[in-house]
């Protein structure tokens, strides 16, 4: 089938999730949408846009298929920019299929995945970033991911990018003026002024790029790993998390390397729990191999949970390798601690703080007085949870409480301290483009500082501008088209 005909055709599809439910919605979109619905549905009056009509869907043998609500939208005031009809029917796959068959018999064709958004994009109803946002929205698996996709849809990233675009255009215009009007004695921008503008552009792009790790994690899952000496209770905690949380989103191995054990949704966050349990526990393994694996896992984690046995006074040597800025501590086996020392949770926590602090003293003293280290020390009590993993597996109230503590502790650790989360980059395409833009601006700044002639600087800035406009869909090249086809699952 060729694309030209494809786009001319009227398409239909169920737009609510598959399966049983109270209501399912079917959408028809295209030139013949109204004509097709009229064959199966009798309107009580002249069709008005955006109004719901109650009635029966009849198949071509005039048998009643279902009682439904029908709403018509006329081009261009619809989601796709074409004539659209939305039919709300009872939520059964059987009914949906029967209605779709009616429509197809009457001249519609089944829509491909993403085809409604594709048409909306082609008809100028949304820019590229927004089209991608819709894809992201559909794919989001957690509340945070959905929020982020919505922000993208509302154009916050676009707005941010537009601000960058404007500064680039301003800089280029000034450079060009000083080249083409050098005789006129114009007061164009000075080098240091330009360099501060470029600096601000770099900061803005860097902000977006830096947000990508987090944005990506929001969509693909934050990687969380449990570390600690053998037998401190890592496996129990892991099991507690996995057993208690019934909403298992994906058990597909290999989504992010082979150490991901499970994906779960914890509070608003999608989490990929890394299987780190075996690194040090297995005595069969050559020790160094275990350590190597463990280090790789530490680096890959968005959050490291270091588990300590409250009764064991030695923290192990792995401690010195911990990426402290993303590490939190769980003091396990509080039940035994309570039995033995008769001290409460506060005391246990204080005890653990002191042990971590004393370990820190063993570290390179240069780092000790750094600002990050001070911040780490000051916030240390926030980073510590005392519990007994055994309880968390317990189905009684005390168990529930422990479980909730654990859950809140982890999701709190994932919260960002930065308030600026409204422009988190989450799409690989955006990240790639902006990384190139960043390098080009950096080159431009270096050239400027090396007193290079302006036309070389403009080459770099033009490249950056192209990337930004490309991201916004303001510029066209066929690679963009290829990506769209890939993303929207069109063509062969």
């Amino acid at each position: 089938m060729i694309l030209q005909n494809r786009n001319e055709l009227t398409i239909c599809s169920v737009i609510t999730p598959p399966g049983q439910g109270a209501v399912s919605v079917i959408r028809l979109s295209g030139k013949r949408a109204i004509e097709i619905i009229k064959k199966s549905f009798v309107f009580s009056s002249e069709i008005e846009a955006n109004r719901a009509y109650y009635g029966k869907i009849l198949n071509n043998r005039k048998q009643v298929v279902d009682h439904v609500l029908v709403t018509c939208f006329f081009a261009p005031k619809s989601f796709t920019g074409e004539d659209c009809v939305e039919v709300s029917c009872h939520g059964s796959p059987v009914i949906c299929n029967e209605i779709l068959s009616c429509f197809i018999e009457n001249g519609a064709r089944a829509a491909e995945r993403g085809e409604f958004s594709f048409r909306a994009f082609m008809n100028g109803k949304m820019d590229l970033v927004q089209a991608e946002a819709i894809q992201a929205l559909i794919k989001s698996k957690s509340i945070r991911a959905k929020d982020l996709a919505l922000e993208m849809l509302e154009g916050r990233i676009s707005k941010y990018l537009s601000a960058i675009e404007e500064r680039l255009v301003f800089s280029i215009a000034n450079l060009e003026a000083s080249i083409d009007f050098s005789e006129e004695n114009l007061e164009v921008i000075k080098r240091d002024e330009l360099s501060s503008i470029l600096g601000s552009i770099l900061d803005k792009i860097a902000f977006l790029i830096n947000g990508y790790q987090r944005g990506k994690a929001v969509f693909e899952g934050f990687k969380v790993g449990f570390f600690g000496k053998p037998n401190v209770g890592k496996s129990s905690l892991l099991n507690a998390l996995l057993l208690e949380e019934r909403v298992i989103v994906s058990s597909k191995a290999g989504t992010t390397r082979d150490i991901v054990k499970e994906q779960i949704v914890l509070n608003d966050y999608l989490i990929s729990v890394l299987d780190t349990a075996g690194f040090r526990d297995s005595h069969d393994e050559v020790e160094s191999l275990g350590i190597q694996k463990s280090r790789r896992a530490l680096a890959a984690c968005d959050l490291v949970i270091y588990v300590v046995d409250l009764l064991d006074n030695d923290l192990d040597e792995e401690f010195k390798n911990l990426p402290l800025e993303k590490t939190v501590f769980i003091g396990n086996k509080f039940d035994l601690f309570l039995n033995e020392l008769k001290l409460d949770k506060e005391a246990a926590k204080e005890n653990l703080i002191q042990r971590v602090l004393s370990q820190l003293k063993g570290l390179d003293s240069n780092n000790l007085e750094s600002e990050e280290m001070r911040a780490f020390k000051n916030g240390l009590s926030e980073r510590i949870l005392v519990l007994s993993a055994k309880d968390a597996l317990n189905s009684e109230d005390s168990g529930k409480e422990t479980w909730i503590d654990l859950k809140n502790f982890i999701s709190k650790a994932l919260e960002t301290k930065k308030p600026d989360e409204d422009a988190l980059l989450s799409q690989a395409r955006h990240f790639d483009n902006l990384s190139i833009a960043y390098n080009s601006c950096k080159n431009a700044l270096e050239l400027l500082e090396a007193k290079a002639s302006f036309e070389f600087i403009t080459i770099e800035l033009m490249e950056a501008l192209n990337q930004v406009q490309d991201t916004l869909g303001k510029r066209f090249d066929d690679e963009v088209l290829d990506r769209i086809f890939k993303e929207f699952c069109l063509g062969k």
């Binding site: 082609m122 083409d180 005789e183 002639s453 869909g473 066209f476 066929d478």
Partner: protein, 626 residues
Amino acid sequence: MAFDNKYHVIVVGAGHAGIEASLATSKLGFNTLLISSNVARIGYMSCNPSIGGLAKGHMVRELDVLGGEMGRAADLTCIQFKRLNSRKGPAVRGSRTQNDKELYAEHMKNVVLNTPNLTVEEAEVKSLLVESQSVVGVRVQDGSEVYADRVIITAGTFMNGVMHVGLKQSSGGRVGDKASVGLSNQMADLGFEVKRLKTGTPPRLFKDSINWDILKPEYGDRDFYPFSLRSKREWNLPQVACYLSRTSEKTHEIIRKNLKLSPMYCGIIEGVGPRYCPSIEDKITRFYDKDTHQTFLEPEGLNTDLIYLQGISTSLPEDVQLEFLRTIPGLENVKVARYGYAVEYDYFEPSQIWHTLETRLLKNLFLAGQINGTSGYEEAAIQGLLAGCNAARSLAGKSEFVLERDEAYAGVLVDDLVTKGTKEPYRMFTSRAEHRLVLREDNTLDRLAQRSVDLGLLSRESLDQLLEIKQKRQSLQERLKETKIYPDAEMQAKIANLGTPVLTKSISFEELLRRPEVNCLDLLGLGFELDKDPNVLEPVEISVKYSGYIKKQNDLIAQAKKLEELKLPQSMVYGQIKGLSNEEVEKLSRIKPRTLGQAKRISGVNPSAIQAIMIHLKAHQSVSSL
């Protein structure tokens, strides 16, 4: 009227465009009639006494390699030479000559009058002779008709020209010359979109009335890089200085007080003027916070007593002009030979021509120069050459001659005009060329030599001379790449002497030359044999030193080429393509872009439209490949 009745080509107008057009068609073997309303003013420089400048100098060199005359005329009559932006990078350097106006025009007139196949007549063309959507000749003022297979119009600012000085208006295309009335009205009736533009010129002053002692002289460069590779690298005429002065707060006050007498400010002039070349009224109004504007006093020639006041174009009344001029240092007692004035004229919205400069509406009719909405001698001349070549080639049954945007500024110029049209007088800038780094003055020959061979305007002798230079550049470049330097003690000492770090291993001379502190001539001392001809050395040195950027630009060109290679059939029905707005359909149908790349450059055609067209193309490809 002593016309023959029939020519191959008629060229209407003998300004910078008309000259190049008529020289091209006659040199290519076609019997050509050049009609001028004032033969005494063939090749006259109506405004500033200079040729070239940023981006314009590039075009003069391109014109020269292709066989045009402007570069030769400018070289021979140069009385000051400057390479602008000489301290900036190689791509944005532009050559400019100050010229002796009389000698320049005299040179052009001699060439035109002595070219075989070319007849010059004085007459005013009143209308075109049209038969079934083709032009077959022209009718002149006494009613006689002359027939031709091709007609090229290069009427400059003369069509319905109106000159303004203060609130007074008079018909005319230039002081001393009548306007041409009739032609553009007829063409409008035939369906051409005719619009108005405005331009202006500053006052000319008597040399003796200026107090030169208090003015700062500005001299030209010591080194002369003639526009033409056929010219000698030495001055033909004595070199002179220009002088710098500035307007004062008093000047501005007088102008401000009299703005109501400026035709620009009281709504008399409807034509759009160039934003980049504002009148002094404009300058002080738009940049009211600047308390002074510079002006150059430029001699119009060696034997004339006229001084051109660069930067002070004005259309204020004569008494106001005199009053404010006398507030400019050096001009306290100035006498004015000719006051500044504005001129309004008809132009044809240039998206009405094809890339060959033939009109879309009428076959065999070509338009070139200011009537296509451009400004500047150089822009006009290159269009004249292209129109002439295309007229001649179509007569000879040869393919169109269209320069690409990555090939020449001339290509950028025509593509911009045809694709985007223009609302103000179009002047070339380096920033209009997206592939600026490869469109340098120094490599003009390398870009266009083969094109010139194909065109055949240059004599065999001149072509051989050019190709020899090109050959020398190539072989030097190859030798630099292939010849290695072996760092023995003696060589290291010599290298250290150049003020550059010694070598750690053997490298090629090319690599050494890439170092900023090393230049081509330094290599002589290291035992590398060199021909010292700067026509060879400079371009090679530049291409070595900037190879990183040039490569980057070439990569971008290769990317852009993908879209340029997607040809759009002229039969494309844009209304049938899904996803195009009405405005886009209208623009695409009117301009009929040759390639998807050109479609992308049409203003108002959005990226989504380009996507839609591409989908449409792919769909058709898959149909035809089934």
